[in-house]
Symmetry: C2
Subunit: 661 residues, 2 copies
């Protein structure tokens, strides 16, 4: 279905009117982008985008990503106009107010029709790369009948200037993700002024250099937009459509300038804009004929969706696709068998290696898992046996060579998880969580099941020195809401933590893993890691000391306890692989591990090869926190642990000193 230009124009003006009126009512927001891209978006939603507002969860819908999320009124307008249940016109009237689903930036957890949360610039497009990759993977697995859709993006200059854009388009170009179509709002304006203030880049040339098609159009000429989108639709390469637009188009005095980017137009200018557009409706009222045209556009995909449903019902693989799209795990018998074998073993291996062992069981058993690494495959131990690469030649593969693109990888994984049907995990060094930190935060905010395999988790990485040794990273990630930070102590905890990560559909996980070997500390099951912290060893005599440790320092805590017990001092050892899960336990359990005794009676000691700040939560102020509150150094790991006091010999005297005073 295609509209003629005389019908397109009032449809686009409906977006302009809603956007300027909502921003004005909120007295905050960004009218410039929705007004500038209204014409392009109207053509996209009326002719090209495959969607059905009555089924926002249709698995084979096109994905639409508003990467320039500050222009959120564009997508709120489109969802309302095409007939989604959410947002309502009341929500739009309450744009940016407490309780409205029309938040300042689009939030996937508030509105079903919103594919992902955007706002942090550059990440929407980078998530779209992950969605397009997930689509190709599921297409290769389930066939054209069940999975065959595009991913469309609207992005602004900010999205293109951010570093992550380079990573995202490089990955998309290498993987030849031809179903990805990016509409660039080329309005030549940033917040500070004209783009020439800060960039002189030839953007089409850069995209072509990364293997993209580039098409150009006049973003205010409906026929030209149609031509360009049709070309983009047909392209077999990822495609950038440079849409030359005027920011704030329609506002006679403000369009084309940077003032219209992020401020209300003001009542007077809105009146003039209405006049210029010939828009006579009251604020938030759409003329019936215009709304009818929009609703007609919204019904375009109903038949396709119904046909798809029929195919899915008939297809022998249809149920499996639906299971994956719902994010339900299948039975894990194979996994439990492997677990039993590990318990009986006695593995003196690094937790990164234990993670590889777990993956060798999990990856075959859970076909929706897609792994990868930011060029550290052999170091992160992220590739399972027989895990074929995901490449432009084989989208059925399940291992992505992300390249040296940590941020791009993390955002792509968010996109994969949000697309659904796959569970992404990916590796880099823990230190480089800094490079993708905001994408990790976005995993948490968007409630995605993404697993970050972050190895070389302390000074234990040794010789590479302070630039590569995490110090503050584990504690700093614990501060991010809705993120489980796991730091397992041995092969068993590692396997447990992997299972817990996979069983958390709405919470992303970090697995912080060692480079160096660690002894196996447990030979019984019980999924003890699920409590977040548990008593690994009980005091023999009267309990005078509680040692609480994580990861590679749990073995040290056991050694300390042994020496203390040798002197008749009873000491518990608590292994704490996930403090977030421990926080969720009931008071009785917490009190059992950490009784509310006078600190002078029972000394609490934390041991973790990272910053001590934060451990006071468990050790109280006058407890003893063994940690590292400075940058590391370059030397073999063993020398570093000795140098920085992570040995029983260094710790025991400090405890004795505290106990005796």
């Amino acid at each position: 279905m295609s509209f003629d230009p005389t019908r397109y124009a009032p449809m686009a003006n409906a977006i302009r009117a809603l956007s300027m009126d909502a921003v004005q009512a909120a007295n905050s927001g960004h009218p410039g982008m929705p007004m500038g891209m209204a014409d392009v978006a109207t053509v996209l939603f009326s002719k090209f985008l495959r969607f059905d507002p009555s089924r926002p969860d249709w698995a084979d819908r096109d994905r639409f990503i508003l990467s320039a999320g500050h222009g959120s009124m564009l997508i709120y307008s489109l969802l309302y106009l095409t007939g989604y249940d959410s947002p309502t016109i009341e929500d739009i009237r309450n744009f940016r107010q407490m309780g409205s689903v029309c938040a300042g930036h689009p939030e996937n957890f508030l509105i079903p029709g919103i594919e992902c949360t955007t706002g942090p610039l550059g990440q929407g497009l980078a998530m779209a790369v992950g969605m397009a990759a997930a689509e190709r993977h599921l297409n290769a697995t389930f066939g054209d009948d069940l999975v065959d859709h595009n991913t469309w993006v609207i992005a602004g200059d900010g999205c293109l200037m951010e570093g992550i854009n380079h990573e995202a388009i490089g990955l998309a170009g290498t993987l030849k993700l031809g179903r990805l179509k990016v509409l660039w709002d080329d309005n030549r304006i940033t917040i500070d002024g004209d783009t020439s203030l800060s960039t002189t880049e030839d953007i089409p040339a850069r995209y072509r250099a990364s293997g993209w098609d580039v098409i150009q159009c006049d973003g205010h000429d409906f026929a030209d937009i149609e031509r360009a989108l049709a070309e983009a639709d047909l392209s077999e390469k990822p495609t950038l459509v440079a849409c030359r637009t005027i920011i704030g188009k329609g506002s006679p005095n403000k369009q084309g300038g940077h003032d219209v980017h992020g401020s209300p137009l003001g009542a007077d200018e809105i009146a003039l804009t209405r006049q210029g557009l010939g828009w006579t409706s009251e604020p938030f009222v759409i003329p019936e004929d215009v709304l009818a045209d929009w609703r007609e556009a919204g019904r375009r995909g109903v038949a396709a969706r119904e046909e798809w449903e029929a195919r899915a019902a008939a297809d022998p693989q249809g149920a499996e696709l639906q299971r994956r799209m719902k994010g339900e795990l299948s039975d894990d018998a194979d996994i439990r068998a492997a677990f039993d074998a590990w318990l009986q073993g006695d593995a003196n291996i690094a937790t990164r290696k234990a993670s590889e062992n777990a993956l060798n069981v999990l990856v075959p058993a859970i076909p929706e898992m897609i792994g990868g690494s930011a060029d550290l495959t052999g170091s992160n131990n992220t590739k399972a046996k027989n895990q074929a690469p995901f490449t432009a030649d084989d989208y059925a593969g399940r291992y992505v060579y992300y390249g040296i693109r940590e941020f791009g990888m993390a955002a792509a994984m968010n996109g994969m998880a949000l697309h659904g049907g796959v569970i992404p995990y990916g590796g880099t060094f823990l230190i480089f969580s800094d490079y993708c930190r905001n994408a990790i935060r976005m995993s948490a905010l968007q409630e995605t099941r993404v697993v970050y395999v972050l190895t070389h988790d302390s000074i234990g990485l040794g010789e590479d020195g302070p630039t590569h040794q995490p110090i503050e990273h584990i504690m700093s990630m614990r501060l991010i809401p809705n993120l489980n930070v796991f730091r397992p102590a041995d092969v068993i905890e590692t396997a447990e933590c992997w299972m817990l990560a996979l069983q958390s559909p709405k919470t992303p996980s970090v697995l912080a893993l060692t480079r160096q070997n660690l002894p196996q500390l447990r030979h019984e099951g019980g999924m003890l890691s699920a409590r977040g912290a548990y008593r690994l060893k009980s005091a023999q005599g009267a309990r005078k000391v509680i040692l609480m440790a994580t990861g590679s320092e749990v073995q040290i805590a056991l050694q300390v306890a042994e020496k203390l017990e040798g002197q008749g001092i009873g000491a518990d050892v608590i292994s704490a692989p996930c403090l977030e899960l421990f926080e969720q336990q009931d008071e009785a359990y917490k009190r059992d591990l950490l009784p509310d005794a006078d600190p002078s009676q029972i000394l609490r000691v934390s041991i973790e090869a990272g910053v001590t700040w934060g451990w006071e939560r468990y050790t109280m102020v006058n407890g003893l926190n063994i940690g590292l509150d400075r940058f590391g150094a370059s030397a073999p790991a063993k020398d570093l642990f000795a140098r920085f006091g992570f040995t029983a010999d260094a710790i025991v005297p400090q405890i004795l000193d505290r106990i005796s005073t």
Copy 2:
């Protein structure tokens, strides 16, 4: 001075021998890159680089940045061979061992000849952009006689694939930093294997799209290298020299493969390599004639340095340049006068606005300050009155429009500070500290005076919602060693924090500033913020409560205290603009603020609109921590503060509840 190829070859082989022997002795490290780039580096250091090993602090030396820092043996070899005091051959023998200055990655704080710490990929090149910008600025200020040098970089595929590369070269291209020359080690190998595994990019085309010259050469043909470097030297654009090399060149069985990237060659292969190169010396022994050639190369710059010193001594501006290069601040009489005026005023302004007021005084008084923002100038309030832009047309300007490039900005600021002669500051939203977090860490590790102006520091930013509201950021940055995180409460603390930031030559600072207005809380001076935390208000009656707050929550603490006092409950209010500085105070001062009383006698309460984790350090476990341990929401700031309990009315009952039990 130029060497003929018969002399170049053994010189380059000296680098190869030292590199493979040191990595072998350490049994860890990266021989592939130094061996592959030995020929290019030999030509650069023998003919083009302007330096004097006897004066590594010569202000007008060329800067050389090994962006691919894992190839650290390249720079250690070069420094030793050309005759720097450090490292010694003993240091090289102890490569990567405890106490050796030859750390796994080059560290600027260990060896004077190392311009910056590299290792986190992409940042070396991005810091070089900042160095080249600082050079042009000082050239524009002091003239060709005093400042006129190149910045040379060796970068690998990893540096070019990282997102920050896009930001860095975009900035350099826009600013037309023609004195920047990047030698790209084009060896087509990454850790995971051939570069084609993860990228298909046309790198020269991308660089040209950003306004760079691109020159190509055979990285193992000395004549071709000379030609290419000569062309680069003459180019008026920033220049990429694509040096086609073979990784691990010289190792007959391992060169050209990814195994030689990050592992020792092994004794057998080293023997074969020696044979192939005709290198007969013992490990760590350089033949006398080869060392003599290298030392001759190292003396090339002595005359130029002496001439420069004579010019600097004669130049009326010479002393001022030296002052700036030493990082000494000049007298601050103007600043103190402004301070007195603020104390007498009564400003109800946002701390971002207070920061702008401070900058309006500081920027004219301290000519070495260079500001900027990542496209949020009007929001960060980073531009002082009459502060001219730093542009390709006016390098004397002191305000950089960094564009939407947070990570690139932060790394460039590190480069500026390391170049010396300027004090950089730059702004973005606090939330986007995530985007540049590792560069902030690198500011701390490298001990640079960089000031991060991070505004919109809490849910107080309001309507933009959870993607833009920092929750964990302030506490998480406190965890980074050697970083002062300032969160001032009013106009006076803001000015004090700015002064403290500028007076810390070896510690970077974060200024976390509000979007929303805050009342002026103090009318006396005394630089109280220097103690990190101080008693803003003393209990009237018997002290039962100590309220400790930062930034925008200090006013709430005062309101709470007033209500408590109204009920006869004595309450102190401690304002804590910088917990790092408070940690450095002596025990007596700390005990005075936070007496070691039974918590049931004096309740400690923290109030900060961010995560509570970490505040237990000051409130003890059974204190009361008022904070926000979830993501925010989109609504006006006032509504959010009420919704999340940051009001006296919400807090007072909680305190009463604790006191009564």
